[in-house]
Symmetry: C2
Amino acid sequence: MNTTHTLSPNPTFSGLHNPTFLQACLRHATPYTPLWLMRQAGRYLPEYCATRAKAGSFMGLATNPDYATEVTLQPLERYPLDAAILFSDILTVPDAMGLGLSFTQGEGPRFARPVRNEADVDRLAVPDMHKLRYVFDAVASIRRALTQADGRGRVPLIGFSGSPWTLACYMVEGGGSDDYRLIKTMLYSRPDLMHRILLINADTVAAYLNAQIDAGAQAVMVFDSWGGVLADSAFQSFSLDYTARVLGQLKRFGAKGETIPRIVFTKGGGLWLPEMAALDCDVLGLDWTVNLGVARALVGGIEYAPGASGPGKALQGNIDPNVLFAPPAQIVTEAQRVLDSFGAPYQRSGTGPTHIFNLGHGISQYTPPDHVAALVEAVHSHSRRMRQSPLEMASTI
Amino acid sequence: MNTTHTLSPNPTFSGLHNPTFLQACLRHATPYTPLWLMRQAGRYLPEYCATRAKAGSFMGLATNPDYATEVTLQPLERYPLDAAILFSDILTVPDAMGLGLSFTQGEGPRFARPVRNEADVDRLAVPDMHKLRYVFDAVASIRRALTQADGRGRVPLIGFSGSPWTLACYMVEGGGSDDYRLIKTMLYSRPDLMHRILLINADTVAAYLNAQIDAGAQAVMVFDSWGGVLADSAFQSFSLDYTARVLGQLKRFGAKGETIPRIVFTKGGGLWLPEMAALDCDVLGLDWTVNLGVARALVGGIEYAPGASGPGKALQGNIDPNVLFAPPAQIVTEAQRVLDSFGAPYQRSGTGPTHIFNLGHGISQYTPPDHVAALVEAVHSHSRRMRQSPLEMASTI
């Protein structure tokens, strides 16, 4: 027997067949731990590769709302995931700023016009959001595709952006980097230029996420993929402060009055969790180096009575994506270990500490698709068992 | 006026003109904060490149004790550094195991016979240390070169090894890696094989460091460069436990009864500092993501009266090497920030929290050599000022 959970009349949840992800984001109890996977629509799926081949290129895929809708839904057809995430790329934003994005085979993204000096910074501005219309059209198209015959959605749709700092890394380096030498040279030599870029990026990211919310995104996530390469004190000044600026400008509600949860994920940011607790967001994403029990004690908050509210973040993460290369039996063991590290699920009628299962980083293109099925099944079944009473649990294990 | 420091009759210090590094390792007060730089003998120095050109290749340099001595001393000729570190490479160890090391231009190290399956593991064993004789000969040669006319050394010589886990990364991946997919697949699929490799590596590393101590190394350092790629709980089982096994087998004293401090550096390991506090070592190295003041509070220990001893680690680190790309004025500011983040220097006659200044990772080959001079000067002069009374400090800044 599971604890009975009554759907709140909250418009955030009532329009969905499966609101578990949004419930957990807002620290409400759920009958099991919801999960989705970073980069769940991706190259490990043969059907994704087929669509990408039709589209001709990565940007051909990302800029066509029909294709973007098709690939966003593919993982949901295979696995009972609890959220969809917009298929796109964080580099659409600097591309709209005119930096000239291209993807070269095997070398990753490149910008034709990277930002390297004061004249380059002088040319930067918040881009016209019409240049990113294809993204908002994709959001609207995916929302339509997720809507069932009764008018309710299957699962919520997450919109996203890179963080101001992470976008700046690509803009200054001109692509990926091993050592972040160019951007850190600018950061330490000309902090004034660095701050000018980050201010423009923050205002751009806020406008971009607000337009995704207007188009129908039901939660938004800021990927601070490279926050963890910064030194202590530089992280606070050059990443965290600008993520906070984005959050301060975000719309809190969708068109029907539903709350739009905001998620912040800083890869390699575990040491700064106490400072991230002060961010005005609902969920913190964690990579696999963080112990979920320790994170819960630091930032997970406490229980509040129904209708009351107080500080505390839902936690999202954090299994090592490389676990998916092991046989299914070991995947099950490791998934259980991650769930157990978070500890006892919150099961009452107010708000309390909650967990959204995810990987600690994007899924690898080499992942066997049937291993993902084993992970999803293990998370759902073990997290349901965790909600049984200890006595019942002993009898079912 | 600086506080007066009397040299202890301790044989660990009395054989050196400049024992500040060893004093700080053992949590004794020093008149300033000693510093050395990871990879201080390296490609950023034109004289290093000249010697390497003579040697013909990287391994030609590392396997020739005369060349190794020459390049080890080069940075000491330029800068008043407080320690020398053996010029070598962590991959000498798996090479001695028969894996076939080569360095290809621009692609980094490769092993001809990586360890990928059970048959490969069956063939692994602790290698005969005679195969690494060139390393021990280099240690002895460098010690001779550091000895002054009065028989005392200029500065102490640090020996080193990769950690069991970090060596295993190269042995299984066959070279560097972006995602550690092969070794993590083994770790999660066949933990038994992983543990067999790590056991052999631990016993090898202990024998290797003990032979360096016998040859004259005055401190030893374990580089766990890739510990930080592991998930929480995997780090403890597959990296930390084997570093502890190494430490348990190390000689504590050199030929003249001098204490041999042991340093452990886990890049990306800041989250596990509380667990690393239990390691039987003297110093913990930290990368730039860690706040030194927070680390000091966690693991730096407290003051003990002369002759007494108790738990607590000296801390080594942790400026971002990319700071060295900024102009000297900013380098000075950032160096002071790192020194100040550690807080008030320990200045009494027992033992207490101490700091050894270093980079948070190896110096970049693109570093301008005169910027290193600015860093060294800033660390020495600011850390001397920190030891003045607050009143005097106010008048000199």
